[in-house]
């Protein structure tokens, strides 16, 4: 069952929370709404669930318009951030509740509960109350509640944020697996870009009530459509340098106080004098031995060892810094003078005024993606060790 959101608008009082949002989630795919607090992602999710009204716009499940349908008539299931288990009922009763209110006979209910409990390995908890369970167990009960009813669409509102870090990591994989087994269209809300990248088929990056970009994880990582997406996705975040385009021997070059990078390959996209922002991920920067090879120069400010890599903060002067990722065994010392090498083909260029991407053909939001192929196989680094920890 695919979900279409057509020109959705929503305001709370005088605050516009969602502005002309249009998205299409393909059937049986895992889609994440990603963004900082207040960007409207939870509101959007609740509108899909039927817990908030739509000011204007149409929500469709498949072909059917669902705007006016109550949650109970939408055949959806939802996992809340706090799991929202019924405190006075046992786990078994929690699981069975949805079937009970639909009038499913007792034996069928018991059978369904047993099946789900077995799959999620919570059979031994069926008689306990939610208050007696751990966070991970509660979450599984919440998932079980959804599973029991075989929904068309499965909604999750930041289900991992209440878990401790270790549990979160294992649960990511489990949730992804859960989605595949369930076979429903899953819409997932989170502010954690790592969760979005690891679990989703598609990511909708949102900010200020507007969809900034909608694409596969690879796309939002490798071809961010604007400055917001570029800065939001990726850990450590992308380096952003403000500067302008100059002509050097007739070829366009990015120039700022502290860095120069050739933009010859983007000649037809930029013009001289254009103010731009250059983006380069720490993983795409290198420390080079000689000044001639380097595009920027400075002094090592701090070195952080992150297990298999080192993150080197290079101070270029005037408090401008670049983060460079190098191998763990690379010999770098704090306060050392270094040169940073930036490969022109690895950079992302954004127009300073519009914040939009200059290189590449993707603009912010194709109206109804989903049927589009997942981007050309262009020259971008394979998703390496950057966001998997």
């Amino acid at each position: 069952m695919d979900v279409s959101l057509e020109v959705i608008n929503k305001s709370f009082g005088s605050v516009r929370v969602l502005k002309d949002v249009s998205l299409k989630f393909p059937s049986r795919k895992f889609v994440t709404l990603l963004g900082p607090s207040g960007c409207g992602k939870t509101t959007l999710l609740r509108m899909i669930a039927g817990l908030e009204t739509v000011d204007s716009g149409i929500i469709r499940f498949g072909e059917k318009v669902v705007n006016r349908l109550a949650p109970r008539d939408r055949n959806i299931a939802m996992v809340f951030q706090s799991y929202a288990l019924y405190p006075q009922m046992s786990v078994g009763q929690n699981l069975a509740y949805g079937l009970r209110v639909r009038g499913t006979p007792k034996e069928a209910r018991a059978a369904a509960v047993e099946r789900v409990a077995r799959i999620l390995e919570i059979e031994h908890l069926l008689d306990r109350r939610p208050a007696q369970l751990s966070g991970g167990q509660r979450q599984r009960v919440a998932l079980g509640r959804a599973m029991v009813r075989k929904p068309d669409i499965f909604l999750m509102d930041e289900p991992l944020s209440n878990l401790d870090a270790r549990l979160r990591i294992t649960m990511r994989a489990e949730l992804r697996r859960f989605h595949l087994d369930l076979g429903a269209t899953t819409v997932y809300v989170t502010h954690d870009q790592l969760e979005a990248m690891t679990m989703s088929d598609h990511v909708a990056v949102m900010n200020g009530g507007i969809v900034q970009q909608f694409g596969s994880p690879a796309e939002v990582y490798g071809r961010p459509a604007n400055l917001f997406v570029a800065g939001f996705i990726g850990s450590p975040p992308m380096n952003l340098i403000h500067g302008a385009v100059e002509l050097e021997n007739g070829a366009p070059t990015f120039a700022s106080e502290h860095a120069r990078v050739s933009l010859r390959h983007l000649a037809n996209r930029v013009h001289a004098g254009q103010r731009v922002v250059l983006g380069a991920r720490p993983q795409d920067l290198r420390l080079v031995p000689s000044a001639a090879e380097g595009n920027a120069h400075g002094r090592v400010w701090v070195v952080e060892l992150v297990g298999s890599e080192k993150l080197v903060d290079v101070d270029l002067g005037d408090k401008r810094r670049l983060t460079v990722q190098v191998r763990a065994d690379a010999p770098v010392l704090e306060d050392e003078a270094v040169h940073v090498g930036i490969d022109p083909h690895d950079v992302h260029v954004f127009d300073a005024e519009t914040a939009q991407r200059v290189s590449g053909r993707e603009s912010a939001v194709p109206p109804f993606p989903g049927s589009e192929p997942l981007g050309r196989r262009e020259h971008f680094r394979p998703i390496a060790t950057s966001w998997r920890d």
Binding site: P71, A84, V101
Partner: protein
């Protein structure tokens, strides 16, 4: 500094003794009443008065429960006091019970439903109503009594238990409303949303999810309403006339109006009047904490 050291060693003991003394002073009236009620007539007026009866007897309680007419000593002779109020005691007890239960049930049901509506739906007056109720609570009952009495006159309900039930609703509903509203507000709405998504209708959500979770608040409000109704004197005094229909509080005061006060009987009546509410309170105390905690701290 030496005070500190002294305190550390003896402090607990001192406090304990102080608490015991305090408890004695506070509970003394009732203890003494109990003691008096168990004494035979001869011992009541004996000097020195004893705390523990030397010859305890249940005759006072028996008189009240069975409605046996009472006798008292007068010049060495037993004199029948005729239709003394003691004969009505069980009747009055029942009346009080009926009126208390009736008004409590009405107040609880009305306020719980209204509290749910106020906290889950959006319309004008959703904050006005609870604060208005709180104000209503602060209006002294003497102001309510006479207008309501006139209303009962018009409805020809004077001297009936129903009039009392309605009267008590007017003084218990405001605070119950306030309490239930404050309590409902603290119930997280996500549980209900989960139930709605699970497929329940509003009514099913109310029955299966909200009511069980609101139980502590309901219990607290019920205890409050029952205590107020059971203990009231004013409304009973104004609304009721015939001996048959009196509530305990009004009736027992009548014991006192007579020329000869049978203290033993009177104290027994006092004890019996206090026992229901006291045991209810003690039994449900822990629920009170939960209920009041979420609701009126300043109430």
């Amino acid at each position: 500094m030496s005070w500190e050291i002294l305190w550390r060693h003896t402090g607990r003991g001192v406090i304990f003794v102080a608490l015991c003394g305090l408890t004695f002073v506070v509970c003394f009236p009732l203890v003494w009443a109990l003691s008096t009620s168990l004494k035979p007539k001869s011992e009541i007026f004996a000097t020195p008065p004893t705390l523990v009866p030397k010859a305890p007897t249940f005759e006072n309680y028996a008189a009240l429960v069975t409605g046996r007419p009472q006798y008292f000593q007068s010049g060495g002779q037993q004199v029948d006091t005729g239709a003394t109020p003691a004969q009505f005691f069980t009747r009055w007890f029942l009346n009080s019970l009926l009126v208390t239960l009736g008004s409590t049930v009405i107040s609880i049901v009305v306020s719980t439903l209204a509290a749910y509506s106020l906290t889950r739906f959006r319309y004008w007056g959703r904050t006005f109503v609870p604060y208005f109720s709180l104000l209503g609570y602060m209006v002294p009952s003497i102001i309510f009594v006479f207008p309501l009495f006139l209303m009962m006159v018009r409805l020809e309900l004077t001297d009936t238990l129903l009039s009392l039930v309605l009267g008590y609703v007017s003084i218990t509903l405001p605070f119950c409303m306030w309490l239930m509203w404050a309590f409902m507000r603290s119930i997280p709405i996500e549980i209900e949303e989960a139930a709605l998504v699970d497929g329940a209708t509003r009514l099913q959500v109310f029955r299966d999810v909200v009511l069980p979770t609101a139980l502590p608040g309901i219990i607290a409000a019920a205890i409050f309403a029952m205590i107020v109704s059971w203990n009231d004197y004013l409304f009973g005094r104004v609304f009721l006339n015939s001996l048959d229909n009196l509530t305990l509080t009004v009736g027992v005061m009548l014991f006192f109006e007579g020329t000869h006060v049978d203290w033993g009987l009177l104290m027994a009546a006092c004890v019996l009047m206090t026992v229901p509410m006291a045991s209810l309170f003690m039994g449900l105390q822990r629920h009170l904490v939960a209920g009041f905690g979420a609701g009126a701290v300043k109430g």
